[in-house]
Amino acid sequence: MEPFRTLSAPACGLPVANIDTDQLIPARFMKRSRSEGYGSYLLHDMRFGSDGAVRPDFPLNHPGAAGARILVARRNFGAGSSREAAVYALVDFGIRCVIAPSFGDIFASNAVNNGLLPARVEETDAEALLERLAAEPGEAVVDLDNQRIVAGNLSVAFKVDPVCRLKLLNGWDDIDLTLAQADAIAAFTERDREARPWATPRR
């Protein structure tokens, strides 16, 4: 995975709370393989009308949002299902950082596993960022080392789980870290067979 240090890119404000995974990617698009790309389905039913026409009033469709790699939203972003396709849609669209006051837990883990930073900010800071982007869409700088977001003259701190921060900074992959623990895992299973003999399903 590509390490994440500082991202300087166009940002787009989405002043909506509870953007759930069903909105991030509606279920009907989830049958494709990843190689076909999920970007065109991102927030599909918000970006497009039922006739497939682009909704010009939707923030991601504004000319100022072209090439957006940072998204700012309201609380509880990514609530709902465990579908990692919600993250694929964001990443394939080009988004590398979502800024919001809170995130669905499973979404946040999925995000980090795909190099997408879920940056938690205070509610008032989210509102300030949204206000600024509404008035004047433009670039923002997300500095993961220092956990800071700068947009024009606005500078706010953000939080991210420390482990997620390390994983993103280093571009670590969990599987490799785990395979290095093979001995500890073997010792555990041996102990566990004695401690919880009932844990193995009867066949």
Binding site: A27, N76, S82, A85, I185, D192, R202
Partner: protein, 470 residues
């Protein structure tokens, strides 16, 4: 020697699964059960990319539920849906993983089948690429949903890295009034703490109203934990749990069962254990609940009115309500019981077990539904039992369609969709925009309430229809 620190149920589960803890606080945990379904194809593809195989097929179980048709017979017509079911068949066969497939008499929704088969046991850590894996917590197991990268990780290593969540206890004491059940408790909790109210927390449900619930009720309650944002939800195992498990196909039997019960009795939270957060509700105050908006937190007692954004001070919250009302086509201040529905759906891992079907049938017996509806039992075995009890006849005679088991209209992946603009009284778990199909409008409620809505054609207090019946 100092006395051992009192531990919560969750602490005990955590401790018994921890393999190693890194300096940064991440702990590698052992996974006892892993369920895969059609949507797990991304993870199997990752495995193939690495040229790897499932490391513990004996702890991995496949279930066809998300995409399966509910009207069966003949091949699946839609090739893209058929391919989802076929991929699961091939991936599980290639890795020697037991599959409860389309033609298996035990097939059903993963969170119904696991408990029913005795695969779900107290003290286990269980995962699945589905957020409602919290359901299994009803047994005092630790169940949680994971994404495709994590599914691949578990397939490969049978372990998962996690950071210990905070602990929250939600107590519901007192007696529920007739016509009110686990779904109403869960929606009341979510309305109270918010759809992100339990984020980062492992929830334990306690109190007399919870221990008084059957296993079916506890499953419904734990199922909806994720709709409050919780990492998991659990109920301590007790006699009700053990009685349910005795004799289940995959559960230990005889002496092994007795030994297990002995261990399981030590799982409940120690008396002096401390939680990071406590919430309590009085069961007596809980009325039948319906949702009016597009998040499960948009829930109110049926006697209430649609909220008016003009009376809400917080501008962001007011905007959220306005947006929800526009999507749902509702007016501020409108009586909830005046909301007409176009169809009902009784099913999903939240409310499709035998008790749910009985509760709905008790309302529908001898009555006619004013709107069309679909009843999809949680598993093929639940379906058979319901038919033995004659419940299928009650649904059919009321004019509802009785179909096979699967996720069906909970998520619409198999083509069971609510049409654009249609309003559905649904026993499912998510009223998100477009969840039941593009443009669909969902009102969440209990099976009894959905049955009542079917009879009257609008949201209705089921207690009025139960007079003289219970």
């Amino acid at each position: 020697m100092p006395l051992p620190t009192p531990r919560t149920l969750f602490d005990k589960l955590w401790d018994s699964h921890a393999i190693v803890t890194r300096d940064d606080g991440q702990t590698l945990l052992w996974v006892d059960r892993h369920f895969v379904h059609e949507g797990s194809f991304h993870a199997f593809n990752k495995l193939k990319e690495r040229g790897a195989r499932v490391s513990r097929p004996d702890l991995t179980f496949g279930i066809a539920d998300h995409y399966v048709p509910t009207r069966r017979g003949g091949a699946i017509a839609d090739p893209s849906i058929r391919s989802m079911v076929d991929q699961l068949r091939d991936n599980t066969a290639d890795n020697e993983v037991l599959l409860f497939g389309l033609d298996d008499p035990r097939q059903g929704i993963v969170h119904v089948v696991g408990p029913e088969q005795g695969l779900t046991l107290p003290g286990l850590l269980m995962v699945c690429g589905d957020s409602h894996t919290s359901t299994h917590g009803a047994f005092g197991a630790w169940g949680f949903g994971i994404g495709a990268s994590e599914v691949a990780h578990v397939l490969l290593t049978q372990t998962l890295w996690q950071r210990k969540p905070l602990r929250m206890r939600i107590r519901i004491d007192g007696r529920l009034v007739p016509g009110v059940g686990a779904k109403d408790i869960a929606l009341s909790v979510i309305a109270r703490i918010g759809a992100d109210g339990a984020q980062g927390h492992a929830v334990e449900y306690a109190g007399s109203a919870v221990t008084g619930l059957s296993m079916e009720g506890r499953l419904t309650l734990c199922n909806l934990s994720i709709e409050a944002g919780a990492r998991c939800g659990m109920v301590a195992p007790d006699e009700t749990t053990f009685r349910y498990l005795d004799g289940r196909p995959f559960a230990p039997q005889g002496d092994a069962f007795a030994r297990a019960v002995e261990d399981w009795r030590r799982l409940p939270t120690d008396e002096d254990a401390v939680f990071d957060r406590e919430v309590s509700l009085s069961a007596h105050d809980i009325a039948p609940i319906v949702t009016w908006g597009v998040s499960p937190e948009d829930a109110l007692p049926i006697g209430g009115q649609v909220p008016d954004p003009a009376h809400v001070e917080d501008p962001a919250k007011a905007a959220q309500i306005r947006d929800a009302l526009a999507y749902m086509d509702l007016k501020p201040g409108q009586d909830l019981s005046a909301i007409r529905v176009d169809r009902v759906f009784i099913g999903s891992c939240t409310n499709s077990r035998i008790e749910d079907l009985r509760a709905a049938a008790a309302v529908l017996a001898g009555r006619q539904a004013k709107v069309p509806g679909l009843v999809s039992p949680g598993s093929s075995l639940v379906k058979r039992q319901a038919e033995e009890e004659g419940l299928d006849r009650v649904f059919r005679e009321a004019g509802l369609e009785w179909v096979e088991s699967g996720c069906s209209m909970c998520v619409g992946m198999n083509g069971d969709l609510v049409k654009p603009g249609e309003r559905c009284a649904s026993t499912t778990n998510r009223n998100f925009k477009g969840r039941q199909g593009p443009g669909s409008r969902t009102h969440l409620m209990s099976p009894a309430m959905a049955a009542a809505a079917a009879v009257t054609g609008h949201l209705t207090d089921v207690r009025d229809l139960l007079k003289g019946r219970i």
